[in-house]
Symmetry: C2
Subunit: 308 residues, 2 copies
């Protein structure tokens, strides 16, 4: 799957993933009204509004970017109907040819970790039938439980040609509370980075990049520089651009000299662009076009930073 992502980045010249993290207050009133009109002010209504909102965004950006990253929390908070909207979002993005990174940050052990892996990336067997329940292309995984949590995902990645991104250094202010602890002569994030490199060396695509990548926040550029060298063949998924404070110039160290090796996420900065002064001209009716313009601006910011 990493080869498909690399090909998509080359084709679009945009190492960008659009984070589909809809909050109800990002969704224009006309979309919410229509959904509530049909389903009431219910969990089903919220889910319908989210799905329609997402489709508009996806239609507007699908030719510009290789990938999207729906954040499962934003769907799961609306219960079973929300989870259905998560699945329908994945399917819609696949129809549009996009690589889907499920931002699920799951982490468990043994057969339980295997159940998450099969449900999200692989298949399950019911009697004599086989199903791919969620069918993301990649998902994010939490490493706190060690190899027992990662290996079942690796098995499914091998079997089904999928990939994962392991949390290494997250973008949030308190990420250092555990991740920056010095153990021996290294910060914990560097130890996890080495584990990712080691796991990743077992599963590589034809491009030479591994199916096992890492999450490293844009908000810690110096850490990104260290981790880029610790994990030379592992893609880095970079959250924290835009709303969380990361800028194009912070990103250069996450890429290799060919401008590959990283894919930068922006969620709110794109999907809620219409609510920002910069894109106010688009209005609520033009929320999807505002998202498109925000992607183009982000692409320019990153391209300029990489060309410098």
């Amino acid at each position: 799957m990493i080869d498909k992502l690399v090909e998509g980045i080359r084709r679009t010249r945009a190492p960008i993933v659009v984070g589909l993290d809809p909050q109800l207050n990002f969704i224009p009133e006309h979309i919410r009204d229509r959904a509530y009109g049909e389903f009431g002010e219910t969990l089903e209504g919220a889910a319908a509004a989210i799905l329609e909102f997402n489709k508009g965004i996806v239609d507007a950006v699908a030719d510009l970017v290789p990938a999207v990253k729906p954040q499962s929390a934003m769907y799961e908070q609306f219960g079973v109907p929300g989870v259905r909207a998560y699945k329908e979002t994945i399917d819609y993005c696949h129809e549009k040819g996009l690589v889907v990174i499920g931002d699920i940050k799951r982490g468990d052990i043994g057969s339980t970790s295997g159940a998450y892996a099969h449900g999200h990336l692989g298949t399950v067997q019911v009697g004599s039938h086989t199903y791919a329940p969620f069918d993301e292309d990649f998902c994010t995984v939490n490493p706190y439980l060690g190899s027992d949590g990662i290996r079942p995902f690796m098995d499914v990645c091998r079997e089904c040609g999928k990939g994962i991104f392991v949390l290494v250094k997250t973008s949030n202010p308190s990420s250092g509370e555990l991740q920056n602890r010095i153990a021996g002569d290294k910060a914990l994030y560097e130890i996890v980075g080495q584990m990712v490199e080691s796991w990743g060396s077992e599963i590589s695509g034809h491009s030479g990049w591994s199916e096992i990548g890492a999450v490293v926040g844009a908000t810690y550029p110096q850490t990104g520089k260290i981790l880029r060298s610790v994990m030379p063949k592992n893609f880095i998924l970079v959250p924290g651009y835009g709303a969380q404070g990361g800028k194009g110039k912070d990103l250069v160290h996450f890429f290799d000299s060919d401008g590959l090796g990283a894919i930068v996420n922006s969620s709110r900065g794109i999907i809620a662009a219409w609510q920002k002064d910069t894109y106010a001209e688009f209005g609520a009716a033009g929320y999807a076009q505002a998202a498109r313009q925000a992607v183009l601006d982000m692409k320019q910011d990153i391209t300029e930073a990489l060309n410098r």
Copy 2:
């Protein structure tokens, strides 16, 4: 919510939580056949089989234990229908008066962590209506992202009278890869234990126990002893009993001198007891009664160990 759990443990004299982690091969054929007959060999069929299986177990053990712990992975692997079975299992357990610990091991940051917290423990607003989408009483949370991941859960716990168990030292063989790293003069699990103690001191029940507990595996009894003293007012949820190798005598250090402070989980050892030689007499038709007997045996094992 911790007070309700403490009251339940006192009433049943069983510091036991039954792990509802159904795998299809734990489910007697007659239940699977009935579900597949109605829904086909589909995700819906799998979900229906799981729900009926769970109901049988819950009916058989509800008077013996204070709590159950459904493991979200085992439901999520069957997609949207599986997630619906998860929700219906929670509701059924509530009808029977059980405390429900959602073993979801979520962990994210800021508004995303808040979305998980609201969806699982709290409420969400859709227009002028309020819903409690999953409505577990407790859930498990991963600490790798630091306070930014925990505080949104704490806010919801305060608001809605719920609680969480933070992963501190997990029961699996590779848990030490990160959790046992020495940072400064302490193992990482001890650092996380201190954080749990500190977070927990902000939210306590009338019983004096905190709404913020910890997960510490039965497979590491000496670690349990250390963490019991680091977190004197935080309940410990103890996985790893039974199938993973933990025994009653390993558990004594997890409890305080009143026999409180810990609740021990067994999943497969109870729900799949009918497949073990010890309980073979019950047969497939008696799977729920086999589970009941396994709970009684576990209760005796723990009681004897605590009385010694």
